[in-house]
């Protein structure tokens, strides 16, 4: 047993209101750059819907993830190593820009600079790729809130599959439809197929926290990872010619603060914490023959952080005590394994994803209250879960490779929790038979309720800092002079847009930011040297450098 730690995330879909705040803040933090205009490390999809890029879940077309080959071995869906190397010169199934969308801006200048005339000036959309006028025909969330679902709903690959497999029809008529939101980031898989398909070996998994990153200095732009990832969460920066992906905001995680998407989530639906898993068992778990067993196989990988044998093995691997403590307090472990209410997204891709979802009960509840039922009565809810097969099947295609029983169990637990807690809140005697009916005790049901309903910041985000002994390595090394006047200072180096001084995936990490905010002079600005940074001025007195020095008036 080789115990490794993995940062994971759980999203409670019942709470997602589809406001896209996570997407916007993520984009502002990471992909507001040339070359990544079309890139959303975090995006929120309305389901049913085609997703972003369009129909990415159709692996017959996009060839992402793993499959079991004829000899029963785990293999990338695009084929063996040799075959993949031969197809390197033109990636066979890479999505094109039109499968994402053509990013655009507006010609705002004409609004204020247009000459006087009879017509109001209009800001026309301009493509950010060609700079030409463009027609906006698609975007990252074009089918938001089922927009156009009556026309295009059948293009959702999961809708297609359900329609093929059963007689049930998913209805897109207004009264009969259902929907929920699915926020997606990189899954930071235990068995990542993007990593396996990278010819250069530039994508790596961090030993300490399992975050999957692209080494920007090693990436050569072979773009095989884009095909390899079944979630299509590796993107091609068309200006630098390199692959980029969600970084799990590692500079923030390292200093113990949550990812931007989690921090800014309005519904507070994201949980962050550690998993301990057995790295030696990953390939075997990903190779189980039946897709429906993959969820259980993945659960078996997650180790119980309370188990003395696991703790001993973890210590042997050099996992620090504060990390083990964090693993014991981990909200994601609790939701995924202790209560078994969080499910992995598309386990059938065999990548062992580490971003988990609590499936939404709300489509069921909403329908019941609309029909005048008591939506929190146990019997009504349980009956409804059975009756509403379509949402359950749809959720099963997303989270359990089509196994409705597991989803059913999770929804029942969530329903039981509502019914049980309502009894408690109304001052009735707690009904112990409710938790029992879903295989839980009253205590664990109450704990689950606490975690899902009222957990505060520190309980939702249990993030151990990068280990103390290595902390000095996270401090800034080198001074800003290293970077001045280097040839890499310019937007475009002599060898094309991407060239210049080597820089790893770079935003300032927390320390760098702190340094910049607490230093008394901005880097590299001679004019301002010796001046007080007003952001740090405490308002007391007039320290030297508060005001600029008087200029010598030239004497005539």
């Amino acid at each position: 047993m080789r115990v490794m730690a993995q940062m994971g995330m759980v999203m409670n879909l019942d709470k997602c209101i589809g406001c896209h705040t996570c997407s916007v803040t993520c984009k502002q933090a990471w992909t507001n750059r040339a070359g990544t205009e079309y890139v959303w490390f975090n995006n929120v999809e309305t389901r049913p819907g085609q997703g972003y890029p369009r129909r990415y879940e159709d692996q017959e077309q996009w060839q992402g993830g793993w499959e079991i080959n004829k000899r029963g071995r785990l293999q990338l869906k695009t084929g063996g190593r040799f075959k993949r190397l031969l197809s390197i010169f033109a990636s066979p199934v890479q999505p094109e820009l039109k499968d994402y969308y053509e990013p655009w801006t507006y010609d705002y200048k004409t609004l204020i600079e247009a000459p006087l005339g009879d017509d109001f000036p209009v800001a026309r959309p301009k493509s950010l790729i060609t700079g030409e006028d463009t027609k906006i025909t698609w975007s990252a969330n074009w089918d938001d809130n089922l927009g156009g679902a009556s026309e295009m709903g059948h293009l959702d690959p999961i809708v297609q599959r359900i329609r093929k497999e059963s007689e049930d029809k998913i209805k897109f008529e207004f009264e009969q439809t259902f929907m929920f939101y699915l926020p997606r980031i990189c899954e930071h898989c235990l068995n990542p197929s993007c990593m396996a398909s990278c010819p250069s070996g530039a994508i790596y998994k961090r030993e300490e926290d399992g975050i999957v990153l692209v080494d920007q200095d090693r990436c050569r732009g072979w773009r095989q990872c884009i095909t390899g990832c079944p979630y299509k969460k590796v993107y091609f920066n068309h200006k630098s010619g390199k692959a980029e992906k969600c970084t799990f905001c590692y500079p923030r995680i390292e200093v113990g603060i949550p990812t931007v998407c989690a921090e800014t989530c309005v519904g507070r639906l994201r949980y962050l914490g550690l998993f301990l898993y057995d790295a030696d068992a990953v390939t075997a778990a990903a190779s189980v023959p039946d897709e429906k067993d993959l969820y259980e196989a993945q659960m078996d990988l997650l180790l119980d952080p309370e188990d003395p044998a696991v703790i001993a093995a973890a210590r042997e691997q050099g996992i620090a005590e504060d990390w083990l403590e964090a693993a014991r307090r981990s909200p994601v472990y609790a939701l995924a394994k202790r209560y078994r209410v969080a499910l992995p997204l598309h386990p059938e891709y065999r990548t062992m994803p580490m971003v988990w979802y609590v499936p939404p009960l709300s489509p069921v509840v909403d329908l019941l209250s609309e029909q005048g039922h008591d939506a929190e009565d146990r019997d009504v809810l349980f009956g409804a879960i059975d009756a509403l097969r379509i949402p359950v099947e749809y959720l099963a295609e997303l989270f359990t490779a089509g196994d409705t029983e597991v989803v059913d169990g999770v929804l029942r637990k969530l329903a039981a929790m509502r019914a049980y807690m309502r009894g408690v809140n109304l001052g009735r005697d707690p009904d112990g038979s409710i938790p029992e009916a879903v295989g839980m005790t009253e205590e664990s049901m109450y704990e689950m309720y606490r975690l899902m309903a009222i957990a505060k910041y520190d309980e939702r985000y249990v993030i151990p800092k990068a280990h103390v002994e290595q902390a000095h390595e996270l401090e800034e090394i080198g001074c800003s002079l290293d970077f001045e006047d280097g040839p890499g200072m310019y937007d475009s180096g002599p060898f094309g847009e991407a060239s210049g001084r080597p820089v790893p995936v770079a935003v300032e990490n927390f320390h760098a930011l702190k340094q910049r905010q607490t230093t008394d002079r901005p880097a590299g600005d001679e004019e301002l040297r010796g001046r007080v940074n007003l952001l740090n001025w405490d308002g007391n007195g007039t320290p030297a450098g508060l005001f600029p020095e008087k200029r010598q008036e030239p004497t005539a």
Partner: protein, 251 residues
């Protein structure tokens, strides 16, 4: 003049190639990429790119065979000059034509597809001229040889000994000087291309991912120990959206 061209220039080119590559690798790992444009257009690329790349790989193998292996070695294993020559012309010709057609498709695609053309730098354009030039001139030597039939010039008595002598540091200038003019021009353009190589996108060839066949699928790496200090200025890869080259009014 001959000494300068065939005795001095090759060493200058070699030095530029080696030192330039080392320098680029140290200074510009971030810019070391294929700079693929498949995201913009992939229909033509899917035809042109494999055609060109597999063609150029065959051409490369052919050159190694012709330049490095001495004539008397092949004769010892019973391959006469005429058989060798016929095969070289046949397969070399096929590979060369594939390469040329491939790169022509790619160049046309580059010119005709708006976003791809916009992503083309001056550096790329110079590189394309040299590359297409070297390929065309190479095919020209082949064509001349085919035209000459049995009288064709045997470059394995002139160019090849000169090439090998370069590496023993005693360049056989006279041998090269004795070769016909089409070989001279082809070699000169190729030397120019090699000199420019480290400074163009062609460097991606030096990092051909052969080790992919042998590495484990899952790569674990320890956290990077160093993080860059803030500079207060945008770093490569962090230029703002809608940079000048995208804004037509500023051009």
């Amino acid at each position: 003049m001959d000494v300068l061209l065939w005795g001095v220039l090759p060493y200058l080119v070699l030095a530029t190639l080696v030192l330039g590559t080392i320098w680029r690798y140290r200074y510009d790992k971030f810019g070391w990429t294929t700079r693929s444009s498949q995201l913009y257009e992939s229909r033509l690329l899917r035809i042109g790119s494999p055609l060109f790349h597999f063609g150029i790989l065959m051409v490369f193998i052919g050159h190694v065979g012709g330049l490095v292996i001495p004539e008397d070695w092949t004769e010892k294993v019973g391959i006469s000059e005429s058989i060798y020559h016929f095969n070289a012309l046949l397969f070399g010709g096929i590979a060369g034509v594939c390469t040329l057609v491939g790169i022509l498709i790619l160049v046309v695609r580059r010119r005709r597809t708006g976003p791809v053309f916009m992503a083309t730098t001056t550096n790329d354009k110079v590189m394309y001229v040299l590359l297409v030039g070297a390929i065309t001139l190479g095919l020209w030597t082949t064509l001349v040889s085919v035209g000459a039939g049995q009288e064709a010039h045997n470059y394995r008595e002139t160019v090849s000994p000169w090439f090998r002598s370069l590496f023993t540091l005693q360049p056989d200038v006279e041998a090269m000087a004795a070769a016909p003019v089409q070989f001279h021009i082809h070699v000169l353009v190729a030397l120019l291309l090699f000199a420019a190589w480290p400074f163009t996108r062609l460097v991606h060839a030096f990092t051909a991912p052969v080790h992919y066949l042998f590495r484990p699928y899952i790569v674990y790496r320890s956290r990077d120990a160093r993080t860059p200090a803030p500079t207060g200025r945008p770093r490569p890869g962090w230029s703002p959206v809608g940079t000048t080259d995208r804004d037509r009014s500023n051009r």
